[in-house]
Every structure is written in C-alpha cells, then in structure tokens.
C-alpha cells in the first residue's frame, strides 16, 4: 500500500470517498477465514473486519488522515471501517484475479485498489451474458463517477451466479473482462448533461478522444489493466461494482509473507 503508484498520500487527503480495498487470495486467506462469500462486504467476519480496521487505524493514527483535519473527504465511505475480502473460490467458474495477474494458486497474494463502496447491480432476469453484462456495464458509467472523467481503477465483483451464466455460455474470465472494457461507457452527448464532465479533463485521458464530437464514445475503463474483475459474494443474482478515484492511483499486487 505504500508503493508510490498506489498514491496513499493523495487518498489520505482527497475530497473523494475511496478506500484501499484488499482482495486477498491464496491458501492463507482461507486458513484465517477471510470471507469471499455471502456478506463479504458486510459485518460478521472477524478476519475481514479486523484486518481492514487495523489498516484504517494506522491510516488515521499514524498517517493522520483524519476527516476535516488531514483529510478533506466530503463523505468518506463505509469502506473506511474495513475493506478486506477474498474471492469466492468455492463457486467461481474461473481463475482468480491473482492467477490472472500471473501468480500461482498456492501463492498468497493481495491486490489493492482505491475504490468507492460497492454499487449493487441486481439482475434476476438475464439468463444470457449479453443482457447481463449490459446491466453490469450500466452500473460502471455513472455521470458522477470519476471513471468517466479520468483514468481510474474499478473493481467488478461478479456474484458467482452471474459469473456462471457467463461461463455456461462459453465465456472465460478474460472474455467477460474484455466485453466490459468495450461496452461500459457513454457518449459525449450524455456526459455533457451532468456530473463531472469538463472538456479539458477528456483531453487529459491517456486515450485519444474527441470531446467536441457528441457521438464519441468514452469508455469507463481507459486501460484494461485498471479493471479488477473478481468473483465474490454469495449465490444470488447480483454483481457489485466499485468505482475508482481520480487522483492517479494504480492498483498494486504482490505476494505477502506469512
């Protein structure tokens, strides 16, 4: 978390309400009971609560990121109580995020991304990926999301039921990842009508855009590496989308010692 590219100092002071979400993989996460199933973003799981809370207390007491004093955060986020989950490895149809990052299944890995609280995409209607992923993509493109106005990380935690719908239709994790990167976005015409749109912000993207063309499509994900796609949560028709920050934080990952 202290790596330069993660920009912890910037997040400590930001007006935005993001927190470092730890996605913990590997056998040690299972051993100590980090939950990635039912209720993984909520209370009741000691490891999730304790680890995340310890990190936050360090950020407050050692890092000085106290709201209104060292931190200009407007709302903060409930993720600042704790933000530590595992993937639902028991019910996922795919490889984990850590494996997609090049680690072995037996490696104990943490991936950390600066994100907001999850926005839930409930869909108990779609039985095939096209419609399902359209709905997930819709949750990725809010006018007020920094993902539409900057290069920003995002975590999409597909519930295992939604992931299985995609897998049964022959889609791999990589297929779903690519599809979401491609379809999640808005046209300039829509973005101008509200939220954080500024022409000069669009010109600052690391991709070529034409902010003067109302039909130009602006993707939420500017670089595929910024979309952290995992399978988490209990069995049910829901996917969680966590929007990112604007201030130049890149997700980090690495093996941790036990």
């Amino acid at each position: 978390m202290l790596r330069d590219e993660f920009n912890m100092n910037g997040v400590q002071g930001t007006m935005h309400g993001v927190a470092p979400l730890m996605i913990v993989s590997g056998p040690y996460a299972q051993k100590i009971g980090i939950n990635g199933g039912n209720g993984c973003f909520g209370p009741s799981f000691r490891a999730n609560a304790t680890i995340g809370r310890a990190i936050r207390l360090m950020m407050l007491n050692l890092g000085g990121g106290i709201a209104g004093i060292g931190s200009a955060t407007i709302f903060a986020t409930p993720m600042r109580y704790t933000a530590c989950i595992a993937e639902n490895t028991a019910q996922t149809p795919w490889e984990t995020l850590s494996v997609s990052e090049g680690y072995a299944e037996i490696d104990n890995v943490i991936t950390c991304a600066m994100v907001e609280s999850p926005r839930l995409c409930f869909d108990d209607v779609s039985q095939e990926p096209d419609r399902l992923l359209n709905g997930v993509a819709d949750s990725m493109v809010a006018m007020g999301s920094w993902n539409m106005h900057a290069r920003s990380d995002m975590v999409v935690a597909m519930g295992p039921q939604h992931a299985t719908i995609c897998a049964k239709a022959g889609m791999s994790r990589s297929d779903v990842h690519s599809r979401l990167c491609r379809i999640a976005g808005r046209k300039v015409r829509d973005l101008k009508n509200g939220g954080n749109w500024r022409r000069e912000r669009a010109l600052g993207f690391p991709i070529k855009v034409n902010p003067d063309d109302d039909d130009f499509f602006i993707p939420a994900i500017k670089d595929p590496i910024d979309l952290q796609l995992i399978v988490a949560g209990g069995w049910g028709p829901c996917t969680a989308i966590c929007h990112g920050w604007s201030g130049g934080s890149r997700a980090v990952h690495g093996i941790y010692d036990v």
Binding site: V11, T14, N61, L62, G247, G248
Partner: protein, 96 residues
C-alpha cells in the same frame, strides 16, 4: 476486565516534532512572489489573476508561476528548493 489489557501506542511516542513556520513579511512591495499551481482546472487562471492583482495593488516586483506534476501528489523537493531560491513569498492553489 478491561483494566488488565496492555495497550501499545502505535505512534511509539512520535509525531511530536513541529515545523517552524517561515516568517511572514508585513509588506509585499518589491518582493518576488511564487505561485504554485496544483494542476486542478482553472488553477492557473486564478493564480495569474492573483499575481496580477498583487503586482498592481501591492507593489510585488515579479511573480513566478510553477506547476506541480499532479494535484494528488506533493510538489517535488527539487521544485520547492527551486522556488525557495527565487521567491520570498509563495501561494499554493488548493481545491478543484
């Protein structure tokens, strides 16, 4: 029950050092004023306007405008040193 818990202070007694503020001049006439743009939109415009007003109304001799690399990151030590060599007073743009 709670009284026999040993508490460890994670700050280890640190965090007590204080940074002395630089002395504030009472008069800006003839001074060189530094303007540090944090790169948020329109920060340059605001600072340029302030700089012009300081020259016109307070006799500031010269303004030096510099930009950080990114609003969310601190100014580099090299940039701060460079400005400290050249200016007597500095104003930093904050916010968005």
């Amino acid at each position: 029950m709670a009284n026999d818990l040993g508490f460890i202070d994670p700050t280890a007694g640190g965090g007590k050092s204080k940074v002395a503020l630089a002395p504030r001049p009472m008069d800006l006439a003839g001074k060189v004023v530094g303007l540090l743009d944090n790169t948020k939109e329109q920060g340059t415009l605001i600072l340029e306007t302030i700089g012009k007003a300081l020259q016109e109304h307070y006799g500031v001799a010269r303004v030096v405008l510099r930009s950080k690399e990114h609003y969310s990151k601190p100014a580099t030590a090299a940039l701060i040193d460079e400005m400290a060599q050249e200016v007597q007073v500095a104003i930093a743009a904050v916010g968005g």
